[in-house]
Symmetry: C2
Amino acid sequence: MVAGPLPAPSGPGKDRLRLWIRLLRASRTIEAELRERLRQEFNTTLPRFDVMAALYRAPEGMLMSDLSRFLLVSNGNVTGIIDRLVSEGLVMRARRNGDRRTSMVRLTEEGSKTFAVIAAAHEKWVGELLGNVSEDEARRLTGMLTSFRSNWEGRE
Amino acid sequence: MVAGPLPAPSGPGKDRLRLWIRLLRASRTIEAELRERLRQEFNTTLPRFDVMAALYRAPEGMLMSDLSRFLLVSNGNVTGIIDRLVSEGLVMRARRNGDRRTSMVRLTEEGSKTFAVIAAAHEKWVGELLGNVSEDEARRLTGMLTSFRSNWEGRE
DNA sequence: TCCTGAAACTTCAAGCTTGAATTAATCTGC
DNA sequence: GCAGATTAATTCAAGCTTGAAGTTTCAGGA
C-alpha cells in the first residue's frame, strides 16, 4: 500500500490512488516517529497510548466494546492491551453495573497522572512533526479528511 | 493516536494534533477496508501486497534492505514476509551478484501475473473508497501531504 | 595476510492485530 | 418460564512488527 509511483502512473483514477499512497506514507512516517519516541522517553507503546487517551476522556470508564469501536481495532486486541495496562497498574476493570457480561474499564489514579505527562509530550511532538503545515493549512486539510472519512465511518 | 476530540481540544498546536488524528483515522479506516477485501477476494494480506507492489516495479529485483527502506518497515519484518511469499511460489530469492551477503528478490512469473490481477482490483477499490474526493481535490491533498512528508523522509 | 569495522541478512522474543471460536449473560417471542 | 437469538468479552492460532542480537561477508588498513 505504500508503493510509490516510480514509473509515475497516470490515467483515470490514478490521482486517488496516488493520494492514498501519500496518505499512507505520511501516517506511517509520523507513526514510526511517535512510536520510537514513546518507547525511548516513556517506555510505552502506541496502542497503550491510544487506549489510555480514550480512557482519559471518559473518567467514568468505557466498555471494552466501546474502546474497540472507538479505536477501530478488534475486540480481542483490546483485551490484550488492557491486560497489559492492568498489570502495569495503569488501568482497572470494574464489573459494577447490572449487566454482568460487561466490564467497565478506566484509568487508575496513577494511569491518569502518567497519561497526562505523556500526552503533553505527544502533543508537542505532533506539533513539531507537522511543523511545516501552517495552522491554517492544518485546518483545511482536516476539513477535507473529515468529509471523505465520514463516508466510511461506521458503515458495516 | 486515534483519540478524537470529544471535549474539542483548543489552544495553540491543537489544530495540528487534530489533523494528525484525522489523518490516522482516515488511513486506518481505508486500510481496514482494503485488508478485508484482499483477504476475502484474494486470500492475501496487505504486507504481502505491499511487497509485491514494490517488486512489480522492479523487474530486475530488489535487495532486502531496499525493500525495507522503501516500505518503511524493519529488516527482520521483510525477511518473514518474503519467506511466506517464497513458500507460496510468488517470489524468488537469487544470490547472483558478487556480494554474497545480499540476495536479490523478485517476483516469479506466477507472482507477477497474480499481482497484476490484484493490483487492478486494488486500484478500483481505492477509487471507490476515495470516491467523494474529487480528482482535483485529490491532487491538492496529495500536494499538501507531499510537502509535509518530505520533511521527514529518510531523516535518521 | 590478518584485523577491525561495517554492511546485509536472519533470528528471536515480545508485543500487536485479526478473525474465528468459545463462554457467559441478556433479551425476545411465545 | 423457556428456547433461541443476540451481545459482551475472552481465548486462540496465525501472521505482522519491532528492536536487539547474531551470522556471514565484504572492504580497508597495518
